[in-house]
Point group: C2
Chain length 231, copies 2
């Protein structure tokens, strides 16, 4: 039996299957866009200090605190700047998304999911018997946009049985959201980004299936698995 | 502006308003039923050992671990046994519900909510500008039945603005659940109780508005506020 579980907030996880990391606004959207724009890899780290150590190794330093790039960074956490990451090795630190990775205690594979590559992630996920969708949330609270993605992915993976209550709730919730962009714009996190002048980032992250890359976590960082959707 | 927030899992909370504690299966349903059946008070405690200390004070000892009453207890955690609590002082310890109370750092009032007294809770909640709905969850995971109650209560309190994403999601989810009992029976916790032979408890907890008491937390425990719905 193929099974799916949804975690609305970071929780210690173990699985023999796949973990899909979700931080729609904006970490996983940026990772997906970066690899789609031919970044070599995206290395997630938890602290600003650690990120800055990668400069002498020739990495581009990207990320945010409070939504904006910390001092000394080359780039923020915007998927619209991903074209600047072409051919680069990138180190990325964000408030919620990179932190959530620390909760994965065991998995056969970890990939990054976003609306931008939803269909590709679904195709990749079908290689696994168990799929866990780990939502980063925002500062310890459920994020609508992450939970909505979890539900939409679970709906595409229709042959997977809901194995926890959050999967049941996410599927039902997402099944009644027709306009993804409108729903995301109502979220707490979107409104915060809009106040920072980042409305176009929100609109960008709400696009569906514009990339077919699946970022897979390796010891060096996320690297691209391409063409999965065509399998 | 009147506002409402939903917490799908126990999280440290502070408010100048009301916290509605929710553990549908079964702690808050049992507390509501106990006070409706004229228990003097229901004192929530976190440990089995602490509960047993109340025997010499003349309390009835009630609660569960793994769904069943621990050794030496007078009663389990069943709202169907509430009639046995008439006129008694009751001490109650449960796995999730009583533990969740520890997360409330500050509140003007704390009450217990369940489907059994949903309308009464809504009437009482309208005395407060801010309403926080705290779901106990089940062993660290979102519980469908708690989140569904949160959404249904938020829908009744239609003049309250959703102040976090979980409130938006809970309202939309609950708005598309017509058969509350059927939905609850699909939950992880319900299936566990059914395996323990407690199917009738699940059915009992899924009843709507059969009581008009609102359990209010005082230093002595939850006591009854009656007739709120008629205000």
């Amino acid at each position: 039996m193929k099974t799916i579980k949804v975690y609305p907030l970071p929780t210690p996880l173990e699985t023999e299957g796949l973990v899909v990391l979700v931080d729609i606004l904006r970490a996983t959207s940026t990772i997906v866009a970066a690899l789609a724009e031919d970044a070599q890899l995206v290395k997630p780290v938890t602290s600003v200090e650690e990120a800055l150590l990668y400069r002498e190794k020739g990495y581009l330093i990207a990320g945010e605190r409070g939504g904006l790039p910390p001092e000394g960074f080359d780039l923020g956490n915007s998927p619209r700047e991903a074209y600047k990451m072409a051919r680069a090795k990138v180190v990325l630190t964000t408030t919620n998304g990179t932190r959530a990775l620390g909760f994965v205690k065991k998995a056969k594979a970890i990939c990054a999911g976003s609306f931008l590559n939803l269909r590709a992630v679904a195709s990749f996920a079908r290689r696994f018997e168990e799929v866990l969708i780990l939502c980063a949330g925002t500062e310890g609270e459920l994020s609508l946009e992450d939970f909505l993605f979890a539900g939409k992915l679970a709906l595409v993976l229709e042959e997977y049985v809901s194995q926890n209550d959050a999967a049941i709730v996410a599927r039902k919730y997402a099944g009644h959201v027709e306009d993804i962009s409108k729903e995301i714009f109502a979220s707490h996190h979107a409104r915060k980004l809009i106040k920072l002048g980042l409305e176009e980032d929100v609109a960008f992250c709400a696009q569906e299936n514009i990339y077919d890359v699946v970022p897979i976590l390796t010891p060096e960082g996320f690297v691209s698995l391409k063409g999965v959707a065509e399998e």
